[in-house]
């Protein structure tokens, strides 16, 4: 397929519809609105349904219903909207409803509620964090496949910069031959025993003995561990072989970090980077490999330190982990302010670099 020049939100919408998404619901909120407009356009020609819901709570519950019928469905919003959707997001994991949730963040302040979940109970969303328009298109396609494969919700952690960036993009299909038929879907009890899709005890057939709540919850705990160990993780790494300092960043912030690392290399600083593409589960192996070779790790994210907690748990004190991020803000409040300027980033890199043991300063 030929490449097209598309805005991030439009590429994301097109990719979702190509992946077979036929239901989308959302409530207008910037910077999610562009995706909402694009989905309305795409689904009107694809024969799907795009709902401008009356509230965030309604939007996510509509997606719940649509996805429960076995159709591919997508929901999206911004951080504030996500807070309002938490109740359903939590229980949709419990009910094992596969769907894709696109979080069009204003900055990166919602790593925690996206990855850890802000709703009640124990749950995890498989998380992908694209940093280019092409990657966003690829990951959305992959997200629908992963959701169906593991029968679980998948989160795309996108952002304001990605939404508005225009880049050349190519839509590539994903091999979905190994997906099983959705026997769990609620489609009316024609020719089979009726079944119930419950967030309390999952899917059960009325003909079979009821699963006890306690046993079901035990299974849920095992399921989180299963996903953590079996969902393929992805990472983008650079200059980590001889790096004394490894900078870790995800999403649009990583795009700036990658550029700044290249500049630092020109200055002679031995800095590398690891960019987690799957933010849950995190690419532990790549992070640990890079950390083991380095003298220190620095985490750059556009918040007051959220992913840094997880990185510390992975590195487990083998090398110091520094937090060098900051909430970035401009007049618009969307998080593209001065904290993310390359000279400032380089300044932060140098500060951490100074703290490394003397051997690191070019004498090795």
């Amino acid at each position: 397929m030929a490449k097209e020049l598309l805005e991030g939100s439009k590429a994301l919408a097109k990719s979702a519809v190509l992946a077979g998404c036929r239901f989308y619901a959302s409530y207008p909120i910037q910077p999610n609105t562009n995706l909402m407009e694009a989905m309305a356009r795409e689904l009107s020609t694809a024969g799907g349904v795009s709902m401008n819901a009356e509230s965030e709570g309604e939007a996510i519950n509509m997606v719940w219903g649509a996805a429960a019928t076995g159709k591919r469905a997508m929901c999206s919003t911004t951080g504030t909207g996500m807070s309002l959707m938490m109740e359903a997001m939590s229980e949709m994991f419990a009910a094992r409803i596969p769907y894709v949730f696109v979080h069009m963040a204003r900055g990166q302040s919602e790593y925690r509620i996206g990855v850890k979940g802000g709703g009640h109970g124990d749950y995890r969303y498989i998380g992908y964090a694209p940093h280019t328009v092409q990657e966003a298109a690829d990951l959305v396609r992959l997200a629908f496949y992963t959701a169906d494969k593991f029968q679980t919700p998948v989160l795309i952690q996108a952002d304001y910069v990605l939404t508005h960036t225009v880049e050349a993009v190519e839509f590539k299909p994903v091999d979905e031959k190994d997906l099983k038929p959705k026997t769990w879907a609620i489609t009316g009890a024609k020719g089979r025993t009726p079944q119930v899709l419950s967030f309390i005890t999952g899917v059960y057939s009325l003909g079979a003995p009821r699963v006890k709540y306690g046993a079901w919850m035990e299974g849920q705990m095992d399921r989180i561990a299963y996903l953590e160990n079996n969902v393929p993780t992805m990472a983008d790494t650079g200059y980590t072989d001889d790096a004394d300092l490894v900078v870790i960043a995800y999403g649009y912030a990583a795009r700036f970090v990658k550029f700044a690392v290249k500049q630092a290399r020109e200055e002679g600083l031995k800095i590398g980077y690891v960019r987690p593409i799957t933010i849950w589960p995190l690419p532990k192996k790549e992070i640990l490999d890079a950390a083991n070779k380095a003298k220190a790790v620095a985490v750059f994210e556009m918040n007051n330190g959220q992913m840094v907690d997880d990185i510390r748990l992975i590195v487990l004190g083998k090398v110091p982990v520094h937090f060098i991020g900051r909430i970035s803000h401009d007049e618009s409040g969307f998080g593209v302010g001065n904290a993310i300027q390359i000279p400032k980033l380089l300044e932060k890199f140098r500060e951490v670099y100074k703290t490394l043991p003397a051997a690191a300063h070019g004498k090795r």
Partner: protein, 264 residues
């Protein structure tokens, strides 16, 4: 009289003949509860209209969840108050199916009124059944948005005071005002006459969905002697004398195309 173990065993071993009512139609509702009668009517109307294999029920959160396994249909459990939104997603994806929600007054009127009203305004082509017993029965008898002024609950010990707690909401009348509504009515299960009338209301509501006329809504007043703190035999009389004086029974909106189905 309690059912003996032998009798239960016999009932459970009956073959499932494809009827809406499950042979395991044993529930654990309190004595005197009106909800089983509402479920019985819903099941009967569905059998009469031969809807079983096309039906998807979205249930809310309340006592009536314990009644759900008695229905021989596919079902989705929704969160408290959110069933109409879930049903929207289901019906939009499977427009040929028969979709209904069963919700209580705590679920629909207190927690999820906006969802229900927006669905009515959008003219969503599914049916909402509201089982209104004016208390949060499952939590143990607390005030809901439909509790009558003066009615004692565990959270309004001196009786609901309009100055402090506000006044009850008449949902059927509210839904009837929406342009997308094809049918809105309020029935009750306190007497044989009321039951027969309510069954016809359910019939009309389901017909409204089948004919794709718009949103259909039936509010069914059910007795809750446990939540009303009275004896089981006093509850139907209280319903007749007090409750239906405020929550007037009747049809509030009937689409012209539904007129041929007579209601006694």
């Amino acid at each position: 009289m309690p059912i003996s173990k032998e009798e239960l065993k016999r009932v459970w071993s009956l073959p499932n003949k494809g009827s809406f009512l499950q042979p395991q139609a044993v529930h654990h509702m309190c004595p005197g509860c009106g909800e089983p009668m509402a479920y019985r009517m819903i099941a009967e109307v569905m059998d009469e209209m031969n809807l079983r294999e096309r039906t998807i029920e979205v249930s809310g959160i309340g006592c009536y969840m314990g009644m759900d396994p008695t229905l021989n249909i596919d079902r989705i459990n929704a969160l408290h108050g959110r069933a109409p939104s879930v049903a929207t997603g289901v019906k939009r994806m499977l427009p040929g199916h028969f979709v209904m929600t069963i919700q209580g007054d705590g679920d629909l009127v207190s927690e999820g009124l906006s969802e229900a009203l927006h669905c009515a305004a959008r003219g969503e082509k599914f049916t909402v059944i509201l089982l209104n017993n004016t208390v949060n029965g499952e939590t143990g008898g607390h005030m809901t948005a439909t509790t009558l002024v003066g009615q004692k609950t565990k959270s309004t010990l001196q009786g609901r005071d309009a100055d402090i707690h506000g006044s009850p909401i008449k949902t059927a009348e509210l839904v009837a005002q929406m342009d997308g509504t094809a049918y809105a009515a309020r029935g009750s299960v306190h007497s044989p006459v009321a039951i027969r009338r309510t069954k016809k209301m359910i019939h009309r509501a389901f017909e409204a969905q089948e004919q794709k006329l718009g949103f259909s809504f039936v509010e069914i007043m059910t007795m809750c002697p446990t939540g009303w703190f009275m004896e089981t035999w006093e509850a139907p009389k209280y319903m007749e004398d007090v409750m239906t004086k405020y929550f007037t029974l009747g049809e509030y909106k009937v689409h012209p195309q539904l007129a041929e189905i007579a209601v006694a």
